[in-house]
Symmetry: C2
DNA sequence: CGGTATCCCCCGCGATACTG
DNA sequence: CAGTATCGCGGGGGATACCG
């Protein structure tokens, strides 16, 4: 793909690589510390193996990513070089801008597999019980094949599952997918949704009470949105109370 | 182009629009204060009218660009909305990163028409003579159809020409294109190149002496490059002196 | 000048299958 | 598990012509 814009301008040269489809999102996942090919696929459920492979290679060629043989077992570990790490501010800036100004989400933007991945990265394990805690999430308004997922914390190690992990469930979270994602993004208040019974917890009361502290929410949840960003609340249905 | 990544993640939503080809460069030109369709084409010599039109429309739909009827004559004026202006830090961050880490330039990246445009935006008119000053640039190692361009300052109003403007030339700058662009980007020192006679000025000595102060260089010239970024200087040819 | 409409080609990308 | 090879299509985008 020889020179694409005919400009020596540093913005143009940067855009050449950063503007390729998926590239920014691969970088974001690497910034989150994801290292393995399969984990990158889990972080980006809709990327194909071919695409991920291509992007990792072009990032490596451009000097943003380093690939080493995995010390244990097979495969490789991918990590950011200094050049790659220096893009953190740019990517986070894009995130902040997206939180404030990007278009409203559609249902298709809310792939529960990606939600599961990002939630399991932001569990507040210090607030959770020692031993094993199994959270089950059940969503209405989601595609049939991924209406449910599980997040398992075992003494500070958090894993996500698309299939039932086999262990007993400690707490189940039921919600409309859109509402939950809006709460996760900080566009709605999670405590308010829980109090209103629009996000429902099923399990021991002590765990129900503790749950809001387990979930750290999106890293950008605190950034105030400038656009409406959510469905109008049809509070009329509740007859004004 | 419904949802492209299946992610509600603000970075993904931002990338959807910012990742489209040319979009970042159109935004950059708008940040430079360019308002007219034709001027945007001059700033981005390799964009087609169709593409520019499409990008302006999608930026308008996404709420980053405002389009108003031109007060005088025909056509419109394009400008950034608040949402668009909030991307300045991101775009400048990409530029800083590009200056430090992006791939080396090829000859194809150095379209002289783009160089002319960006130079004419960064002339230090306060340091230039009152009245009219006509600068002529002649490059070796450039495509035949754009080896030369002119920059005309008339009492603080700077214009660029691809065709000879008709006025008498006050000062001519001759250089290899690559060397001049490297100096413009701050990868080489302009005074050093002038002193070494690799960038040559032709015209009254007083103007020759003043010239280095007329040219502000790329806005990113002061950002230190981490990669080599230029051809090896074959100083051997000068037999070690 | 200030754009749109149309055509058409190429290649980006997803899907599938395959391999070490 | 950790990717690579191959195929096929869809549409992004360049070129050209056209219009107000």
């Amino acid at each position: 793909m020889e020179s694409r814009y005919g400009q020596y301008c540093p913005v143009a040269l940067a855009t050449e690589i950063l503007g390729e489809r998926w590239t920014i999102l691969v970088l974001l996942a690497l910034m989150d510390g994801v290292e393995r090919f399969n984990d990158l696929q889990r972080a980006l459920p809709r990327i194909s193996a071919t695409m991920l492979s291509q992007r990792l290679r072009s990032l490596e060629n451009a000097g943003l990513v380093r690939k080493k043989k995995a010390p244990t077992g097979r495969g490789h570990e991918y990590s950011l070089t200094e050049a790659g790490r220096e893009l953190e501010d740019v990517v986070m800036g894009m995130g902040r801008w997206g939180q404030r100004w990007a278009r409203d989400m559609t249902l298709d933007d809310m792939d529960p597999r990606h939600l599961a991945w990002s939630m399991h990265l932001r569990m507040n394990v210090d607030a959770m019980p020692v031993g094993r805690t199994v959270l089950q999430f059940e969503f209405t308004g989601a595609p049939d094949d991924c209406k449910r997922f599980w997040i398992v914390n075992t003494n500070g190690t958090v894993e996500m599952c698309i299939e039932h992990p086999g262990f007993d469930v400690d707490l189940t979270v039921k919600s409309d997918l859109r509402r939950f994602v809006e709460a996760w993004r900080g566009i709605r208040s999670l405590p308010a949704e829980l109090a209103a019974g629009r996000i429902v917890l099923v399990g021991p009361p002590a765990l129900q009470r503790a749950f809001p502290d387990w979930v750290l929410l999106s890293a950008l949840a605190h950034v105030g949105r400038e656009r409406a960003g959510r469905e109008r609340t049809t509070s009329r249905r509740y007859h004004g109370t």
